[in-house]
Chain length 339, copies 2
């Protein structure tokens, strides 16, 4: 498998990205190749001297898209950015999968535009795996599509269930629909119609509406929601966990500094148990290709894990399974982009 990696994307790029790629290069199989995208001289300066012996190639992409740039503007102006060049090569079939921890909006736009959608998919969605106290929960969509229709939510359920079962390893995963109450009558019009679609398909292990709190209590393995809500869920979770651990630390330091020292390894153990880096990025499900979008703060370990997640995505033929699934469903969908 040929895996493209955006060496310039992320808060700790290029160092952590390249380090993660080098780690993975030592472990991957003989027929795998990693392709790093970015300014050639920058990447070369960070590579070890024995690069010629490693399964690593560099593709020069001199333009850099900053994390906070406007996605559409930056893609229009910076045609030689790592994201744009990588997306183009993937669309041509010159690489088999892509990984980026860069500007999420630019990634989604470039990957959708170049790779197009899988047959039967109206809108791709980003699926993030939340490590929770009730096990991993796959939440889709977290921001690829903020004008969500009922059929999109249905397709997120089908795609995220496939991903959850084949990549995360949960057989026949339960699916919850994010709403404002668990009763069927709760929710807005999009949610109510999506609920009907989900109920109509016996292949989806649908458990009904869920509420915000249910993400963390084992109510379901897959949670579907529109991208705006999913994005708020993702960022709120990050902000709250960070804030809460800071509050605990502050409280301990003020009152019992000796207890704070003892508590530190406990926090570290919890962090490592519920570490989202473990899942190495979020797939953009529904594009005709394999795209993994990583967190901006991705470390060397995240990138290393992302490479193995993409390999699993590839070896499990997730996209074929999604296409088969959607071609067999009785839920009406139209090919290609919806208006």
């Amino acid at each position: 498998m040929r895996i493209g990696i955006d060496a310039m994307g992320g808060d700790y790029a290029p160092d952590e990205i390249i380090a993660g790629a080098i780690d993975a290069a030592a472990e991957i199989q003989d027929d795998d190749k990693l392709v790093l995208f970015g300014p050639r001289e920058v990447i070369e300066s960070k590579m070890p001297p024995d690069i010629a012996k490693m399964p690593v190639r560099i593709v020069d992409a001199p333009d850099i898209i900053a994390m906070d740039e406007s996605p559409i503007d930056s893609l229009r102006k910076k045609r030689k950015s790592s994201i744009a060049v990588m997306a183009k090569m993937a669309a041509k079939g010159e690489i088999d999968g892509v990984i980026s921890a860069g500007n999420t909006g630019a990634c989604v736009a470039a990957f959708q535009m170049r790779m197009r959608n899988l047959p039967g998919v109206n809108r791709p969605g980003i699926a993030v795996v939340f490590p929770t106290f009730g096990g991993p929960v796959t939440v889709c969509d977290v921001g690829a599509n903020i004008a969500c229709k009922p059929v999109n939510l249905y397709q997120y359920a089908a795609m995220a269930s496939t991903y959850c079962s084949k990549v995360i390893g949960i057989d026949n995963p339960t699916v919850g629909l994010m709403s404002i109450g668990s009763e069927d009558a709760k929710g807005n019009e999009v949610v109510k119609k999506a609920q009907e679609l989900l109920k109509s398909d016996p292949k989806i292990n649908f458990v009904g509406n869920i509420e915000g709190r249910d993400i963390f209590n084992g109510a379901c393995n897959v949670a579907v929601c529109e991208g705006f809500v999913g994005n708020v869920v993702l960022k709120l979770t990050e902000g709250l966990v960070d804030g809460l651990f800071k509050a605990i630390k502050q409280e301990l330091m003020q009152e019992q500094p000796e207890l704070a020292m003892k508590f530190k390894p406990v926090i570290q153990r919890i962090y490592s148990k519920y570490d989202y880096n473990e899942y190495g990025g979020a797939p953009l499900l529904g594009v005709n290709g394999l795209a993994l979008i990583c967190h901006g703060s991705s470390s060397r370990l995240t990138i290393r894990n992302a490479i193995f997640t993409v390999k699993k995505f590839y070896s499990e033929n997730i996209n074929d399974k999604i296409t088969d699934y959607l071609s067999e469903t009785s839920v009406r969908t139209t090919d290609g982009q919806e208006s």
Copy 2:
């Protein structure tokens, strides 16, 4: 002030509700009166023998609406429920404010239907005060209105700013608009249009778009969002905090039980510092009356505090200030319900 209290609403009703009312009764002023709504014999059986000397009255409301009943159906069938009878008396001016920890949907429906909207308000919104590490943050709306228009978000900002400044005591509060990125261009159409309205009013201390994480990092004093998103934010926060503390406890009990015992009071101190019971319920801003909706799990203390919050709401003439504000704004609004 005559304050109506739904004695039958909440997970711990009627005991905790009545106990909270009795606590407050000992502290309120001479011209205040508490009016308890529910089945007379149930309430009387929970009252102390010296009830005649207390500033407490009972209004018989024999029907009971369960926490998980359909709001509209239950109001239609149970015309003598505590929520329905209380809302009717408030609309007639026979009581000056209402408090309920019961079925939120039924409360919102009954209070809106009976009290009607303040002049200039299109849709009421529920404002919840989150005790955060960066100080209290007032989030509006958390679920009263799930078909939100830009003008509703603008009005939430105006109403919640007034409440935040007069009841929470934060002068000229900063206002953030919940979106999926802090840049102006991020967000759906409703958010983008609301942003224009918020920018056009110099009286609103608007700081721009915020993301989910910003609720907890002091980015703003008031956060406005549509009710679906706000409801997910509220319930997610509750679920995550509970889950995280459980995870810490479990980790400690497994590895260092002696440390767990020492850690318990730390958690308790954090809980009491960030205790939402302190703010005693969430106002339904924009109705022509004073309505406070409390959490289903409200304790005696929550109800006691809610009574003093309603008193402040009343003495600060919040509704007059909101009406004045909206009558002076240049942002176009129409009176009464919008279609």
